[in-house]
Symmetry: C2
Subunit: 349 residues, 2 copies
Amino acid sequence: MNRHQKEKADEASGQGRPTLKTLAFMTGLGVTTVSRALKDAPEIGAETRRRVQLVAKQIGYRPNRAGVRLRTGKTNVISLVLNTEHEIMSFVSDIIYGVSEVIADTPYHLIVTPYSRSQDPLDPIRYLVETGSADGVIISRTQPNDPRARYMLERGIPFATHGRTDMGLIHPYHDFDNYAFAAEAVRHLAGLGRRRLALLAPPVELTYHGHTLAGFADALSEVGASEIPFNTVSIDHSIEQIRMRTAQLMRRENRPDGFISSAAAATLAIVAGIEDAGLKLGRDVDVVSKQSSELLHLFRSELLVVNENFRLAGAELARSVLGWIGGAAPGTLQSLSEPGEVQAYRRPA
Amino acid sequence: MNRHQKEKADEASGQGRPTLKTLAFMTGLGVTTVSRALKDAPEIGAETRRRVQLVAKQIGYRPNRAGVRLRTGKTNVISLVLNTEHEIMSFVSDIIYGVSEVIADTPYHLIVTPYSRSQDPLDPIRYLVETGSADGVIISRTQPNDPRARYMLERGIPFATHGRTDMGLIHPYHDFDNYAFAAEAVRHLAGLGRRRLALLAPPVELTYHGHTLAGFADALSEVGASEIPFNTVSIDHSIEQIRMRTAQLMRRENRPDGFISSAAAATLAIVAGIEDAGLKLGRDVDVVSKQSSELLHLFRSELLVVNENFRLAGAELARSVLGWIGGAAPGTLQSLSEPGEVQAYRRPA
DNA sequence: GTGACAATCTGTAACGTTTCAGTATATAGC
DNA sequence: GCTATATACTGAAACGTTACAGATTGTCAC
């Protein structure tokens, strides 16, 4: 053993975290061989491969992320880009849990990249792409003509959108079928004899605003009901504003006898507004609302709900991004989640 | 210009992301000098320093994270460790936003490290420490004798806990003063003439269970009220279970005339249970509840609430970890958030 | 004019990984 | 017994950064 080899041995047997060098020393092989053996390269003998993998498992070898990243550019990171002001409540945690679930047994880490209202939504995306900080990106609050999706498509970085775009460009997405939700809600209300319906929609700039409106309009004409315009507020407005507007609306001559709400928090405000006007839920007016956790029926048992599963959305989004990274065609990584039935409250046994 | 230098120039002028080499070529300096100039090292001439920094800003140089991490071991990552099953609702998003806010203008990234109920809570921590994946860690669901805190203290990795421990060991934390919350709640209920109080507490294993119970007990004897035991459920139980237990309790002879609830979601269940038993909030019984978003008063206007700000908690926790990483003494990075007054509902104007 | 010293800058090596371009050995063809 | 070829392995270089150990000036004391 010459001086050079001795040095190597000394270093490799050090008690730090094991590296390829450690493994190479322990197995008596070269680093290259060890590296290739660990990734099942065909030009490594079957026995050597097993031997290396056994030792690696025994001493708990884990590839150094920085080393891999520096050499290959692969970050093993998925970034979830979130708006710090709009994305309220359980949405976010459910999506995060959904994503986590899927990447749990992959080498991927989840990083959360926030941006605030004051910023250009493109800023965080640019940062991620320019610094090569992630292998894949998940965005929400998707717009029909979304500059973020366009930008990432141009740069060829894998991503998935929560919600669809409408630019004639193909990319992975997961969406809830808000057209079906709105249409079903209208039909259900019509079935209860409601004829004058108001819709509290998502903010105009988001794609699913259009979907929701379309489903609402189509079903209205289908059942022969009419719309009471309620577009001075959206689910992005404050509780106070929605409540006030609802109360105003309900005090008018031609008030709605049915509401459809695209978000649970907003529904609380709508109900408050209805009651401010001295009216009663279930008697004077019915409300169908989306919800992401089963809490609205505790709030008012008369509420009619449709569930939207954000945890599932997170999982689907993660699967899509990983799929794209793995080389699948973006067009095959699109999914739409159908709403269940409109649920009336059932008393627990 | 010899062959060697020419190569360097060719590479450096390449259109990829700028590196120290690019800067070195542009300024005519050595990489070492550039590196040191960028971090304001004293042995670099003032003018050179300014020049390098100017060029760096102009071409949008950003240090390569993998390079830094490989060389120095510094990850520039803070990990937020979350339980995927317990941590429900807005808690998580608020904490994330709070953390994000603080690390926004630092080089730090936030990674979310999840673990599920089935796992040992120590698992994710071990993973982070062994793989050196983060410079700092934030944990929640803190226990009086918390193996995670002990483990990280032993390894010397900076962390902060959401909630305190009780092991005689010093580490940064942020906590809500649940002793004060429970005590104030009792006093408020006593002020309303309530005498038989029930407490829906946090799960026993968590530190703030003890704090809450202590505040409850101390204030009970202070005001001369009595406890109606309600410890078959905690805020970790399902809505259905809490509801059922509450209804059972309220049908008993010696039922409580006041409730204190440590979580908003659980409060919905308590109220449902009360109403299941045919009793009325505000008349037969009063409920004081913690909430993290201003929604409970919409649910039932008779509810009495105390706000807990999780966004603030997230921000404080991030500040603590960064402080520790920056070399501050752990003992100086502890904070306790005092609850505000118990709020009764005020009708909006 | 020489030596000492400070000020300013530089090359080399190393962190852990993968890729490139090999080398050594065994097997087969003839 | 020779070349060709496949099999199994290997060292060196590179990714971008920082730390170490110099190197080159210029200034000053004497």
